[in-house]
């Protein structure tokens, strides 16, 4: 089922959580709402679910307005950040809850409910834990119970609020893969909120980058990562080096910011470039000459070697090169090297961190 949010505005007192936001979620896709805290991503999710009423705008499921439909009638599966499992109920009772509260004529028979719960617990790899209470489960297991509970009522859309936010790194990576596979299996239109760019880029079909109650960019992970639409997106997704300067050839002398991702530098011996500029140089100079400085630190115990270069003005420039490149060039701390960007992205300086 497709979801449309049309011109949604939501205020909490003076604070504008969502400012005229429009979003179209295609049927069957897995969409990530990505942004820093306070960007409005959770509010947007709650507006779609019906847990918040928008001040302005409309929400449509398959073209039909559900703005005035109560949350219990919307048919959404919602997974809360801290799972919100019912503490006094077993796993079985938790998952069966949505089926047991149905009006009598819609309620499945007892045996059917048990079958459905068993089926769901197998789906989330928790068979055998039906009799446990939430406090007897690990974080990852609770997360999966919450998911099974949301799926039990056969929702038309699945909404997840920071689904892996509260888990440790390893469990998180596992659950991430698992959610991706699960989504491929059940093909349910799903929206999840995250502040973790890796999570969004790895799991989602499309990513919505949000900032201060507005959508900055919507696109596939490749699009938002490789062609960021704004300085904010550039800054928020992945590490990047910022260089202040003017847009070359712009007579209005408009201030601009140039961004270079660490892996988009090539490392050169200083002798190979005749002159160098400092980190405040314009994008134009940066491209032809690169940044020269002394290597402060090298982190080589990972897939890519991270190098910190101290530029002439004292600012640190982060460079990433492959292990092979590192072996070949053999740079060491204290030496002077030049980092020349292979690619620079320039944005007008209308954005401040």
């Amino acid at each position: 089922m497709s979801i449309e949010a049309l011109n949604i505005t939501k205020r909490f007192g003076q604070f504008v959580a969502l400012d005229d936001v429009s979003l179209h979620v295609r049927s069957g896709e897995l969409l990530a709402l990505l942004g820093p805290s306070g960007s409005g991503k959770t509010t947007l999710l709650r507006v779609i679910a019906g847990l918040e009423l928008p001040d302005e705008g409309d929400v449509r499921f398959d073209g039909e307005s559900v703005r005035d439909r109560h949350v219990r009638k919307r048919g959404v599966g919602f997974v809360f950040q801290h799972y919100a499992l019912f503490r006094h109920m077993t796993v079985l009772e938790n998952v069966a809850f949505g089926l047991r509260v149905k009006p009598r004529h819609e309620r499945p028979r007892r045996a059917e409910i048990h079958d459905r719960v068993g089926e769901l617990l197998r789906l989330v790899h928790l068979d055998g834990l039906a009799g446990r209470y939430p406090h007897e489960l690990s974080g990852g297991q609770r997360q999966r119970v919450a998911l099974a509970r949301a799926l039990a009522v056969r929702p038309r859309v699945l909404l997840l609020d920071e689904p892996f936010g509260a888990l440790d790194a390893k469990v998180r990576a596992e659950l991430r893969d698992w959610l991706r596979r699960l989504h491929e299996e059940i093909q349910l239109t799903s929206v999840f909120v995250t502040h973790d760019q890796d999570e969004a880029l790895e799991v989602a079909d499309r990513v919505v980058v949000m900032n201060r109650g507005k959508i900055e960019q919507i696109g596939t992970p490749e699009e938002v990562f490789h062609s960021p639409a704004s300085a904010f997106v550039m800054d928020f997704l992945g590490q990047s080096n910022r260089f202040h300067g003017r847009v070359p050839g712009n007579s209005a002398r408009q201030e601009s910011i140039s961004y270079v991702r660490p892996h988009e530098f090539e490392l050169l011996k200083p002798s190979q470039s005749t002159r160098s500029i400092d980190a405040t140089g314009s994008g134009d100079q940066l491209e032809s000459m690169g940044v020269t400085g002394e290597i402060r630190k090298i982190y080589s115990a990972s897939a890519l070697v991270r190098i910190e270069l101290s530029a002439a003005d004292g600012r640190l420039v982060h460079v990433q090169i492959s292990q092979e490149e590192f072996q070949r060039l053999a740079p060491s701390v204290g030496q002077t090297w030049t980092a020349r960007p292979r690619r620079i992205r320039v944005f007008a300086a209308d954005y401040q961190i």
Binding site: G50, R74, F80, A84, F86, H88, V101, A150, V153, A169
Partner: protein, 323 residues
């Protein structure tokens, strides 16, 4: 990751041990303070209870029983029970509604409502009784109207119930507000998204989560409803066999120099107090267990505590080497 974290908890555990050793007071201080506290409790709390029992039985079991089966005593017991039977459910309902409104909604006048709930604690019960007389008494605001309708509030059961309602209003709400606030509304919202109606949400999710706190509030409310003296004394008029509650009856007997009978009735109230304390301890134990579980839930949710089956091999690494 898990290993590192277990390591830190291990360290903080050691810290706590060291600190408790440093913080430990000298033996004589601990003994003196303990002795003072226990002595105080015996002198002012236990001894009076014993005295009540001793005096109640001082003239024999027959006098004790006849004091309790006396028609006036029976009527006082009945009135006390009726009052509690009306007041406790009513204040449970009011308390739930007020606590719900305060914990779940942000509205104008919310802090005023919180203050108002505490009002009965802040006002002397005698004043509370007098206020009722001023409002509902024959010369009060509504008194003449009500008496035209044939309703008598003051010097009658409705007045006693009203006074008790007022005095015991805060107990349930006070108990529930922090509980509801700490639990947040996630579970309730979750129930709604799963299709539960408001009532289903309340009875299946909210109520089970607050049941011990609610029971605790009701126990305290009941104890005070049966024991209230000041406010009830003002509005009751002390009509024997009609408007005397048990505490008032005790006073009447005492003023009549019927010591054994007075203490026999007082012993009933003392028993009620003991029973209440006992229940309170049981419920508090349940409450603290729930709170412990909730705290543990919260820790697991933030991923700080490895649960069984979740431990990585590294979690055992910081153990001290055996020498």
């Amino acid at each position: 990751m898990a290993g590192i974290i277990t390591h830190t908890t291990g360290v903080s555990g050691q810290h706590a041990q060291q600190r408790s050793r440093v913080d430990r007071d000298p033996v004589w201080v601990r003994w003196t303070l303990s002795f003072l506290a226990i002595g105080f409790a015996i002198l002012f709390l236990v001894l009076p209870l014993v005295v009540v029992g001793v005096y109640a039985l001082s003239e024999g079991l027959r006098v004790f029983l006849s004091a309790l089966t006396d028609p006036d005593a029976r009527s006082a017991i009945r009135l006390t029970l009726i009052t509690a039977a009306i007041v406790v459910p009513a204040n449970t309902l009011f308390g739930l509604v007020a606590a719900w409104a305060i914990a779940r909604f942000r509205f104008r006048g919310r802090s005023l409502l919180i203050t108002l709930i505490d009002l009965p604690f802040a006002i002397s019960p005698v004043i509370a009784g007098l206020m009722l007389v001023l409002v509902f008494g024959l010369r009060g605001w509504f008194g003449s109207t009500l008496s035209d309708w044939g309703v008598q509030v003051i010097f009658s059961t409705p007045g006693i119930v009203l006074a008790t309602l007022f005095i015991t209003f805060p107990f349930v709400a006070r108990e529930l507000i922090p509980l509801l606030e700490s639990q947040g509304s996630d579970q309730e919202e979750s129930a709604l998204t799963l299709g539960a109606s408001g009532w289903q949400m309340f009875f299946r999710i909210t109520l089970p989560n607050i049941r011990w706190g609610l029971l605790y509030g009701m126990i305290l409310c009941n104890a005070r409803a049966m024991g209230e003296f000041g406010a009830v004394s003002i509005v009751s008029g002390h009509i024997r066999g009609l408007t005397n509650t048990l505490p008032l009856h005790v006073e009447v007997l005492y003023n009549d120099y019927q010591l054994a009978a007075a203490f026999a009735c007082a012993s009933l109230l003392a028993l009620l107090a003991l029973f209440t304390l006992f229940l309170k301890i049981a419920v508090e134990w349940k409450l603290s267990r729930d709170a412990r579980l909730a705290a543990r839930d919260a820790i697991i949710e933030t991923g700080l505590l490895p649960v069984r089956g979740d431990r990585s091999p590294r979690s055992t690494s910081p153990s001290t080497p055996t020498t």
